[in-house]
Amino acid sequence: MSEFNVTKTLDTSGLSCPLPVVKTKKALKDIEVGDILEMISTDAGSIPDMEAWARQTGHELLESNDEGKTFRFFIKKTH
C-alpha cells in the first residue's frame, strides 16, 4: 500500500471505459497543480488506459496498483 499525500479520491468502481479516464480528467479540475489524485477503478482495462492517458496528458502517473478486481492509481497534476 502506497503512502501518498492524497488531496482527492475518485471512485469509479462499476464504471466501464471510457468513464474512468473521463472522470479522472474532470476530477483534476478540482485540485491544484502538484496535488495528488487517487483513482479507484474496477474496469479491467484501466491500467493500460490510464498509462496511455498519462502519456498523452503529461500528468504524472505515480503508481498503478492491481489489487485483483480493483485497480488503484495515484496521479499528480502537473499543469
Binding site: L15, C17, V22, K25, K26, Q56
Partner: protein, 170 residues
C-alpha cells in the same frame, strides 16, 4: 500544455444504438486526453444530435450480434442467445425488446448511456458538426437539434480534419 494538442476527426454516419457508441466513446476518451476533437454527424448519424435522442438497436442488420439477458444467474447472463433471422426480422416489437435488453445489459456493466456520453463530450468542448445536406434531405429542422451543433457541410469538416492526427469514419 506547451505543445499543440493532438486532434481527432470522426465521421458518425450511423444512428443505431450500437453504432452510436464508437464515436462518442472515442471522442470522450480523446477529449479526456486533452485532444481537440470534432465529429461530423451525417446521414443516419445526424439524429444522434437531436434533443430527443432515440437510438435503437437493429438486430436484423447485425447478424453476429449476441443477445444477452440482463437478469438471472451469471451463467444465464453470459449465455449468447442465438437469434434466428426469421425471428429478428418478422416478430413485431423485436427491435424494441432488443433495444431494452441492450440498454439494460450496458447499464449493468457500467457503460454510460449515449445521452451521458454526448453530455460529457459537450462538457469537454467536442465540436459537433451537423450535416446541413442531411438536414435538408430528411426534412429536419435546426431546432430539433441541441444548441451545441455547428451546422455545416463537407468543407467544414474537411477543414477541421485537414491537420488531424487521427481520422475515422464510423
Amino acid at each position: 500544455m506547451e505543445h499543440k494538442p493532438k486532434k481527432l476527426a470522426l465521421i458518425a454516419s450511423r444512428g443505431t444504438l450500437d453504432w452510436a457508441y464508437p464515436p462518442f466513446i472515442l471522442a470522450s476518451a480523446a477529449a479526456a486526453m486533452d485532444w481537440e476533437v470534432g465529429i461530423f454527424f451525417t446521414f443516419y448519424g445526424l439524429p444522434l444530435l437531436k434533443k430527443d435522442l432515440k437510438a435503437t438497436v437493429s438486430p436484423g442488420s447485425n447478424p453476429a450480434m449476441p443477445m444477452k439477458m440482463p437478469f438471472g444467474s451469471e451463467g444465464f447472463q453470459n449465455f449468447n442467445w442465438p437469434m434466428p433471422n426469421i425471428l429478428m426480422n418478422n416478430v413485431p416489437g423485436f427491435e424494441a425488446m432488443a433495444t431494452t435488453l441492450m440498454k439494460k445489459t450496458f447499464k449493468n456493466k457500467g457503460v454510460a448511456s449515449i445521452e451521458e456520453l454526448r453530455e460529457m463530450c459537450i462538457d469537454m468542448d467536442v465540436k459537433m458538426i451537423g450535416c446541413q445536406m442531411t438536414m435538408d434531405v430528411f426534412g429536419f429542422k435546426r431546432d430539433e437539434f441541441i444548441d451545441e451543433v455547428d451546422v455545416g457541410g463537407a468543407a467544414v469538416f474537411l477543414e477541421f480534419a485537414a491537420d488531424a492526427n487521427v481520422s475515422l469514419f464510423v
